[in-house]
């Protein structure tokens, strides 16, 4: 146990995942878990899976000194408290959007501006499959958006392999689970209204477009739908390359990009029940499943990408990045393989 870690926003959904991961992590010890609403209560009173943990929530004011501080707070909170966070910890890993983009201009365009733009240069986007090098000595790390993560992982081999160059039309149709909305409550997210939906909730102008654009330098026509699951984000990318492509080209590109990646599985075809990426196959894990199908009659590539929005799409990605930054084994604390069968996890 070499490092101490605290979680700000530990009563939320991704905060709970962080606690779960850190508790079982061979190198981390949980120092503090903050919540304003549940201060002094056991973490198990909010997260029933963590009843074994002997940790109580504390107020986010009064942060102890730790090696790594994870912030799992809503957009805007980290940029406000970043000085306190950086004072408390050598490394800050933020799960919100506050430090994901590169420039104030992008925050003006996609969000409501930024109060600490000078830090945007310093911060590193956490996705290790794209930024492993930079993460190794990062002290301010921004875990990616879940839908952006799914999309970027799906499209990356096509850009890496030169099959796309950014001039093509890209359609991204995403299906997400209810945990993406966090632990709050509203009529739209009540069980009676939210069950069984295929609900367009961000038909156009989704903020994660900004992250995808930052990665590949191209625009995407992005739409998200809420579907009936709690965990999971599945991106279907419909892509029209400029030139002819074979299945062999695609296997080559995908294997080249991911063959050595510990958390990306290629899944495309076969004869069983699970032939393409599916979010429930990776629920609870830090894995991404990525695959594709070629549609010769439409000169289209359909790319599928599936992750657990709270894991690879947030808390798992954050711990993975922290492992790299701290010099630990990349997979430390992230070994859970997921369940089968599993219903709508």
């Amino acid at each position: 146990m070499s490092h101490t870690a605290s979680v700000v926003g530990a009563s939320g959904f991704t905060g709970g995942e962080l606690l779960r991961l850190l508790h079982a992590h061979p190198e981390f010890e949980i120092a503090q878990a903050t919540s304003r609403e549940y201060a002094n209560k056991t973490v198990g009173s909010v997260h029933p899976n963590l009843r074994e943990l002997d940790v109580r929530f504390s107020e986010p004011t009064g942060l102890d000194s730790v090696d790594v501080l994870f912030a799992a707070t809503p957009h805007g909170v980290s940029m406000k408290h970043i000085d306190a966070f950086q004072e408390a910890a050598d490394t800050v890993v933020d799960l919100s959007a506050d430090f994901r983009l590169d420039s104030e201009a992008e925050y003006d365009e996609w969000y409501d501006g930024h109060s600490r733009p000078e830090l945007l240069d310093e911060s590193v986007y956490a996705l290790p499959e794209r930024n492993r090098e930079e993460l190794s000595d990062a002290s301010l790390i921004a875990a990616g958006g879940c839908n952006a993560t799914a999309t970027i992982l799906g499209l990356a081999p096509l850009f890496d392999g030169g099959i796309l160059d950014g001039s093509e039309q890209l359609v991204v149709d995403v299906k997400v689970g209810s945990s993406e909305g966090g632990a709050g409550s509203s009529k739209a997210s009540s069980h009676a209204e939210r069950s069984g939906v295929v609900r367009p909730y961000a038909p156009t102008g989704h903020r994660h477009e900004a992250e995808i654009q930052a990665e590949f330098g191209c625009e995407t026509a992005f739409s998200a739908h809420a579907v009936d699951m709690t965990r999971g984000a599945a991106a279907t990318c419909h892509v029209f390359p400029n030139g002819p492509v074979t299945t062999g080209d695609l296997w080559g590109a995908f294997r080249e990009t991911y063959d050595d990646e510990p958390f990306v599985r290629l899944v495309a075809g076969g004869t069983g029940v699970y032939r393409y990426p599916e979010p429930k196959a990776v629920a609870g894990t830090n894995y991404a499943e990525v695959g594709f199908e070629l549609d010769p009659s439409n000169e289209r590539i359909v790319v599928f990408s599936a992750i657990d929005n709270m894991m690879k799409g947030s808390a798992g990605q954050a711990v993975h990045a922290a492992n790299i930054s701290c010099g630990f084994e990349e997979t430390a604390g992230l070994g859970f393989q997921g369940l089968h069968p599993v219903g709508a996890p």
Partner: protein, 54 residues
């Protein structure tokens, strides 16, 4: 050890693998036939169109 003729992934096989055996590739799921041993050679097996239902 052999490579999948479909997707190029490396396949690990048991030692006493025999010619004619049908195996799957863990990556692309392709059905492959062992056409030679020592060293192992694989070919895509004739596809069995399987209805996967809606």
């Amino acid at each position: 050890m052999a490579n999948c003729p479909e997707c190029g992934a490396e396949l690990s096989l048991h030692d006493d693998v025999e010619t004619g055996e049908i195996i799957d590739c863990g990556t692309c799921g392709g059905e492959l036939e062992v056409v030679a041993t020592g060293p192992v050679e694989l070919e895509t097996a004739p596809e069995l169109e399987e209805d996967w239902g809606e």
